[in-house]
Subunit: 161 residues, 4 copies
Amino acid sequence: MGSSETVLHEGAGAHAPDKQAIAERAAKTLWSTDRAAQALGVEILAVGPGSATLAMVVGDDMVNGHDTAHGGFIFALADTAFAYACNSHGQVTVAAHCAITFIRPGRRGGRLIAEAREISCAGRSGIYDVRISAGDEVIAEFRGHSRTIGGSFLPAAPEAK
Amino acid sequence: MGSSETVLHEGAGAHAPDKQAIAERAAKTLWSTDRAAQALGVEILAVGPGSATLAMVVGDDMVNGHDTAHGGFIFALADTAFAYACNSHGQVTVAAHCAITFIRPGRRGGRLIAEAREISCAGRSGIYDVRISAGDEVIAEFRGHSRTIGGSFLPAAPEAK
Amino acid sequence: MGSSETVLHEGAGAHAPDKQAIAERAAKTLWSTDRAAQALGVEILAVGPGSATLAMVVGDDMVNGHDTAHGGFIFALADTAFAYACNSHGQVTVAAHCAITFIRPGRRGGRLIAEAREISCAGRSGIYDVRISAGDEVIAEFRGHSRTIGGSFLPAAPEAK
Amino acid sequence: MGSSETVLHEGAGAHAPDKQAIAERAAKTLWSTDRAAQALGVEILAVGPGSATLAMVVGDDMVNGHDTAHGGFIFALADTAFAYACNSHGQVTVAAHCAITFIRPGRRGGRLIAEAREISCAGRSGIYDVRISAGDEVIAEFRGHSRTIGGSFLPAAPEAK
């Protein structure tokens, strides 16, 4: 791990710099090919080992017949946060089963924040909870179950590291 | 209900023509303001009392970092089918809780079919199962829980029908 | 599989006699050590490849503070039916994730029937739905996700069969 | 609320004494008729507003065909903790939908601890998470959805209050 990165993450607290750096490289790698998240206008606010915080604005094309945020897009944001969190260890990990509870409607034009955190990681199976909120209001609670299916998807570490 | 519509749905089998007609009017009404489904390119293949069959092609902007259909879009299709099925009785009904199991990856360019059917409808609570498939392969299984929250959202029946 | 068993299951319809016989041997083997199901008074009404139908009476010690069947016992019956269905292929298979929706209360002294059927079986992962009913009323709907973890748990077939 | 109770709960921290006292009276009331929990040998370790911690030993009659704790009994403990947590506000509240993920097997004779906490409480709908552990190991994660259906189930407050 290079010294400059170590400095950058000095404030990461409980996390070893290595784990934080892996989470950031994982997010960067995923993002580079994640056309869906890019097209949705998802913004990655933070990633860490087992965690991710993302934002997305409810666009005009994301509302349903009841004129509130279509559940599919709320789910898509949560699922994306889940993906970044469960892949943050650098191993290829996929969603196996997800559940979402819709608590309050999301408004057109509102900015949704999704915070994913690791609840359990045992063997190849993980559980991640994602809270989706808009301002002070919780919009939905999501729980994702992941399955690690293979080796590292990270590119080889750059030279001199 | 006018005679012409009755004739149109003569083959609806077990369903009373009224229920089938209500399901079709409900779908039409929902669709007219469902910008999300329209933008996703969702196609409504069939609706009935408690059921709906929809299709969607996995577009280039619907793939994720593993280069397969982003779970959010598979969910969005399933959730849309669920919405049309649970609103097919003409009462304002919303999704409360949904779970999806991803079984096989969806391919870019593939055409997904979502078939929603009513499993339970007791009081204001309903359960709907949606199978998402691509050709002969099942891609995902979805179970949605709905809550009926209000009166009819159907426009008054047009005159002379 | 010996000819006598083939004859016994001649009426199994769509199922190959071998598969039906395996399901029955699997159920017998599981049951012999399933102290929980025995203590709950569970009765196995039928098993088949991917399916199982069980019954249980809501005993006096199975009611909760609202004086209806404790959800834990309704779940236990459903989970048992799920176990017999997902182990019916003779491979060691365990429950990974289960969800249950409580639709109507179960009555003290009522006889609950749980019907499990296979929804999906892909690789090592399976989905099984279980409907729990009492007479004409549906009490709960259960969906179980299984994971096959090892080889056969069936005893070697007896000689001369 | 009487002064003696206030003293007893002086250490309740962030919780108003009233809320803590209501939670304790709710637990006492539920327990008095909760034959299922009593028969299972459930022990109530703590209750608070929106929370409950319970214990149960995996008895000889709680093991399944794989000789580990039957999922139904793990669920029953979690579901009971959920019930005490979601009824802790003193309003009649029932389980609508529950999901459980089995992470590690429970051992015969092991003491399981279930800790329930409130994740969301909006209108009549609540979400409660329950972690079931044995020593340092997490055995299962449970998420319950509740529905408040009526008024208070608490007995009238004692005199002089």
